[in-house]
C-alpha cells in the first residue's frame, strides 16, 4: 500500500532550539493579531506535500503529549513521528493538532474543548494556496484595532459558514493556522469574518 519511501528521512530544524523559538514567536504574533501574515524564517526540510510553515508549526508545537492527525501520506507521518515524537491520531476528532494538506476536515468534527476547559480543543494547521494581506475578508475581534483584511486562496466553498458556526461556539471552538509556503496567518476562534 505504501508508495516507495525515501531511504532517509528529511531533516528537522537546523537549529532546533532557536528555530522553534522563532517559529513560535511568528505563531504567537499571528494568533495575537489575526489576519496579519508572518514568515517562518528557517523552516525545516519537510517531505512534500508539507510546506515550510506548516511543518515548522508541527515541530514547534507537537510532541509526545499531543496526538497529531495528518493527511500528507506515510512519509510525512514518519517524519513527524521521528522529529516531533508525536503519536499519530486515527481520527480527526482525537487529535490535538491536525495538519491538512488536502481537503479540510469539517471544523465541527474536531475537538472543541468543554465549557469548563475550552483550551482542550484542536488546532488545525491548514495548507492553502496563497495568503494576501490588505484584501479579501474583513476581520474583526480581539487582536485587531479596527479591521484586518486577508485573502486566502484554496479554501473549501463552505468555509465561511463553517467558521461562523465555530465562532458561535465560543468559548469552545477550534483555532486555525493558515499556511502557504513559509508564510502563516492565524484565525483564533474569536475572529469574525465578513466577506470583503
Amino acid at each position: 500500500m505504501m508508495p516507495a519511501m525515501r531511504a532517509t528521512l528529511a531533516a528537522g530544524f537546523a537549529e532546533p532550539v532557536l528555530d522553534a523559538q522563532a517559529c513560535f514567536r511568528a505563531a504567537l504574533e499571528a494568533m495575537a493579531r489575526p489576519g496579519r501574515v508572518q514568515r517562518v524564517a528557517a523552516p525545516p526540510e519537510a517531505p512534500p506535500p508539507l510546506g515550510g510553515a506548516a511543518a515548522a508549526l508541527l515541530l514547534t508545537l507537537a510532541d509526545a503529549d499531543t496526538p497529531v492527525w495528518l493527511d500528507a501520506g506515510p512519509e510525512a507521518e514518519a517524519w513527524a513521528r521521528f522529529h516531533a515524537g508525536c503519536p499519530i491520531a486515527a481520527a480527526p476528532g482525537e487529535a490535538a493538532f491536525l495538519l491538512a494538506a488536502g481537503p479540510m476536515p469539517p471544523l465541527a468534527s474536531l475537538a472543541a474543548g468543554s465549557e469548563e476547559e475550552p483550551h482542550r480543543s484542536a488546532t488545525l494547521i491548514l495548507q492553502v494556496a496563497a495568503l494576501a494581506e490588505g484584501e479579501g475578508w474583513r476581520l474583526s475581534g480581539p487582536g485587531i484595532e479596527r479591521e484586518h483584511r486577508l485573502r486566502v486562496e484554496g479554501l473549501p466553498p463552505g468555509f465561511a459558514a463553517d467558521w461562523a458556526a465555530n465562532q458561535a461556539r465560543f468559548p469552545q471552538g477550534v483555532d486555525l493556522f493558515l499556511c502557504a509556503g513559509d508564510r502563516l496567518a492565524a484565525l483564533p476562534r474569536t475572529t469574525h469574518l465578513a466577506a470583503g
Binding site: 495575537a32 493579531r33 503529549d65 474569536t190
Partner: protein, 283 residues
C-alpha cells in the same frame, strides 16, 4: 553578555517550553480564560515571579531586549535578579527603558510609557483566580467561569458600596475581558487597569504556584467591573512627584524621617528619570 554554558537557551528544557507555548496560544485564543500548565521548579522560590519567568523563558529569543520591573522599579532585588538570570541563561540584551524593550516582565505595575505593537508585557501573578476570596473551591469557580456567572463578584462590589460608599479595592481590581471572562489583572493598582483596555501590546500572565497562564490579546476590551451609578474610578495620591513633578503618574509614598515627613515619588523609575533628564536638558 554571553549565555552561561550548561543550560538550555532560556533555562527551561524544550519539552517544558513546548507545553507552555501550547498553553500560551490557547490563552491568546480565549482571552481571559485561565489555562492550566505544568509549572516547573525554578531556581528561585514561588512568589518571586516563577510564573512570569517561565512565560518569558518560553517566549524570549536572542533578538529580544528584556526589561524587568518590580512595582515599577528597575533597580529592586526581584527585578535585578530576574534581569541577570535571563542575561545569563539566554544571553539577551537587557534594558531599563520601556520604549527599547521588546519583552517587559512586570510585577504589579504597567509602565507609564504607552506600549506599542510588537511589545509583550509578561505579568507575574500570585493568584490568577479573581473569585478565590468569594469561592474557595476550584471546581466551583471553574463552573462559574463556564457559565459566566459572576453575580458573586457584583454582590461583593455592591456590599463595598453599601458599607463604604465606594468600591474598596485599590489593587487587583477585577476586570471583564472581551465581555466574557472575569479576570484578575494581577495585583496592579486599580490606577493601571485602564491601560489594559485596547492596549496595542500583547499581555501574557503567568502564575507559577497556581499553575495557570492567561492572556489578553492586543486591542482587546478590558473593563473594570462597576455599576452605572458607581462608575469605576482609578485611585491616585493627590500630589505631584517630588522628583519629576508628574501629576499623571502613579505615586509611591516614601517616609523620609520619624517626625511624620513624607514625599510622593513616581513608582515607574524609568518614566521618572526620563522626565528628570528632559527637565535638566531644558534648563
Amino acid at each position: 553578555m554571553s549565555a552561561a554554558t550548561g543550560y538550555n537557551f532560556g533555562y527551561l528544557d524544550e519539552d517544558t517550553k513546548r507545553m507552555i507555548r501550547r498553553a500560551l496560544l490557547k490563552a491568546v485564543a480565549i482571552p481571559g480564560h485561565q489555562v492550566p500548565f505544568g509549572s516547573r521548579e525554578m531556581p528561585l522560590p514561588y512568589g518571586w515571579g516563577t510564573g512570569g519567568i517561565q512565560v518569558t523563558a518560553s517566549v524570549i529569543g536572542p533578538a529580544d531586549r528584556l526589561k524587568v520591573i518590580d512595582q515599577g522599579a528597575d533597580d529592586t532585588t526581584n527585578a535585578v535578579s530576574i534581569r541577570r538570570f535571563f542575561a545569563r541563561v539566554a544571553g539577551v540584551e537587557t534594558t531599563e527603558r520601556t520604549a527599547e524593550a521588546s519583552i517587559i516582565q512586570t510585577r504589579h505595575r504597567i509602565p507609564e510609557t504607552t506600549l506599542r505593537e510588537g511589545q509583550i508585557l509578561v505579568y507575574q501573578v500570585p493568584m490568577p483566580e479573581p473569585l478565590f476570596r468569594l469561592e474557595p473551591r476550584v471546581a466551583e469557580t471553574k463552573r462559574m467561569h463556564a457559565l459566566a456567572d459572576y453575580g458573586l463578584m457584583h454582590v461583593k462590589l455592591y456590599e463595598d458600596i453599601a458599607r463604604h460608599g465606594h468600591v474598596a479595592i485599590s489593587y487587583n481590581y477585577p476586570v471583564m475581558v472581551n465581555g466574557r471572562y472575569l479576570m484578575s489583572p494581577s495585583p496592579i493598582p486599580a490606577f493601571d487597569n485602564p491601560k489594559m483596555h485596547r492596549n496595542p501590546a500583547l499581555q501574557l500572565f503567568g502564575a507559577g504556584r497556581e499553575k495557570r497562564i492567561y492572556a489578553v490579546p492586543p486591542y482587546t476590551e478590558v473593563r473594570s467591573l462597576d455599576f452605572e451609578d458607581h462608575p469605576f474610578e482609578p485611585v491616585r495620591a493627590r500630589a505631584g512627584c517630588a522628583l519629576c513633578g508628574s501629576r499623571e503618574s502613579y505615586l509611591d509614598e516614601v517616609v523620609t524621617d520619624d517626625a511624620g515627613g513624607r514625599i510622593f515619588v513616581c513608582s515607574d523609575t524609568d518614566y521618572c528619570q526620563g522626565r528628570q533628564a528632559r527637565q535638566e536638558a531644558a534648563e
